[in-house]
Symmetry: C2
Subunit: 243 residues, 2 copies
DNA sequence: ATGCGGGAAAAGTATATACATGTATGTATA
DNA sequence: TATACATACATGTATATACTTTTCCCGCAT
């Protein structure tokens, strides 16, 4: 008798589906209040806790907004942002069925410049790991990757053979990333970059700056330069998948 | 007496914090089983439902993996991807405290080329809306935005005054986006682009291709060209915020 | 040794109940 | 009229309990 779908899923999932359907068909107008938890209980014949769970999950998925003491409302269409995904370049190349190879140009411990030390949010000048690696797709250089690493978080960074393990894989494995900052821009290649990537000086490159944090500590700062004519960043994703 | 933090947050949040802390400090080795729900109940003095909620939320946030009948495990470090956010350019410019202005160059209904029709996954050739807009930051052109819009989803696209309402805002408001595809690359400016953006032919530009879907239907296809020297895409975000 | 069966253990779901907390509203009082 | 208080109602949290579903493992019989 209840209006719930009769799929073979848990009750709270049916309630979620029921609510989403009624939002989608416009049965509940976008600016008025949804039924209260107790009204759902009466209408659907399930317990309040089950309704509550359904509503809570739809809220955390961004479909609803709930105000304690007031009621439940339909969330405004979508956040004004969309996302693109940045993948591990080695994995991407292999996924395309091509050969990946990398060449380590530099792997050393350095004393940072004042500016770099600032980017790491260091009070004192602490020494850092510094690596420069070129990534090849079918023996064609596609990316130059310069990275500075906080040795307090990744103490044995320089012990790795990065021509075998991808630096990205290694870092992701060693320390959990709690925050990421990205800046993407397009720049002409300077002399050194052009030499490493075997392109003309001034050709368009995609420049990706990345900082990662572990807790409150800056873990890595990277500068990834992609050859514009040979590489692009791509992704496809569903905004509402964050259930 | 319990080992839970004494912050002023709900119990299940304290349990989550407690678990995350113990994962972070390596108290629980990465490949062994975490305590069972009942063991948590005994150790922390809270009910099983509370423990269950904490564990469930940490699981949906990607920190844990749970197997019915087996146990709870620490999830492998992170998915091999990080995200960058692409915001509405008008909002971004205003957020920086600068003036935003846009100029509509083209707003028409066209019959698409065969290739474009294919990108829309159309069987027959259906006419499309086509718009070209230049966005200015403090009277300096920073982005050229060419867009094709499916009229079956947004029938009155051409009735808008896009020098007032941002196209992106308008689209987001009209139709829910269920899927997005992005491709970012770096290209030299061609003659026409250079003219519209007031830059030299061949200067570096950031090129962003975007397709959006509403359900199974392609809603929009956009080509956004940013002046490399004047604009970059940036974001900062917490991978674990998807709770 | 192999395979089968049953029990123990683990997570998953559902409910009833109680209390906590925040919000709006109406009524009585100054 | 305006303020204060009481009340009703909404969501939020916490617990006890019961049952389900899945997996693992051990012991027994073949």
């Amino acid at each position: 008798m209840s209006a719930l779908p009769d799929t073979a899923s848990p009750l709270y999932e049916k309630v979620k589906e029921y609510i989403l359907t009624n939002i989608g068909t416009g049965k509940w107008s976008k600016d008025r209040k949804l039924p209260s938890e107790n009204e759902f209980v009466a209408a659907l014949g399930v317990s309040r806790m089950t309704v509550h769970r359904a509503l809570r999950e739809l809220t955390s998925a961004g479909f609803l907004i709930r105000l304690q003491g007031v009621g439940t409302f339909i969330a405004p269409p979508r956040p004004q942002s969309t996302l693109i995904e940045i993948n591990n370049i080695a994995a991407e190349i292999v996924a395309r069925g091509n050969r990946h190879r990398s060449e380590v140009l530099v792997l050393e411990r350095i004393t940072p410049t004042k500016e770099l030390s600032l980017s790491f949010e260091f009070a004192r000048r602490v020494s850092l790991y510094h690596s420069v690696v070129v990534n090849f797709e079918n023996d064609l250089p596609v990316q130059l990757e310069e990275r500075f690493v906080n040795p307090s978080l990744i103490p044995d960074y320089d012990k790795q053979d990065f021509s075998k393990t991808a630096t990205y894989d290694y870092l992701m494995q060693k320390t959990p990333v709690t925050e990421v900052e990205h800046i993407i821009s397009a720049v002409p290649a300077d002399a050194e970059t052009a030499r490493h990537l075997a392109i003309d000086i001034g050709s368009c490159c995609l420049l990706l700056h990345r900082r990662t944090w572990t807790g409150a500590i800056v873990a890595t700062i990277s500068k990834l330069t992609y050859v514009g004519s040979r590489y692009s960043l791509g992704s496809r994703y569903s905004p509402s998948l964050r259930a």
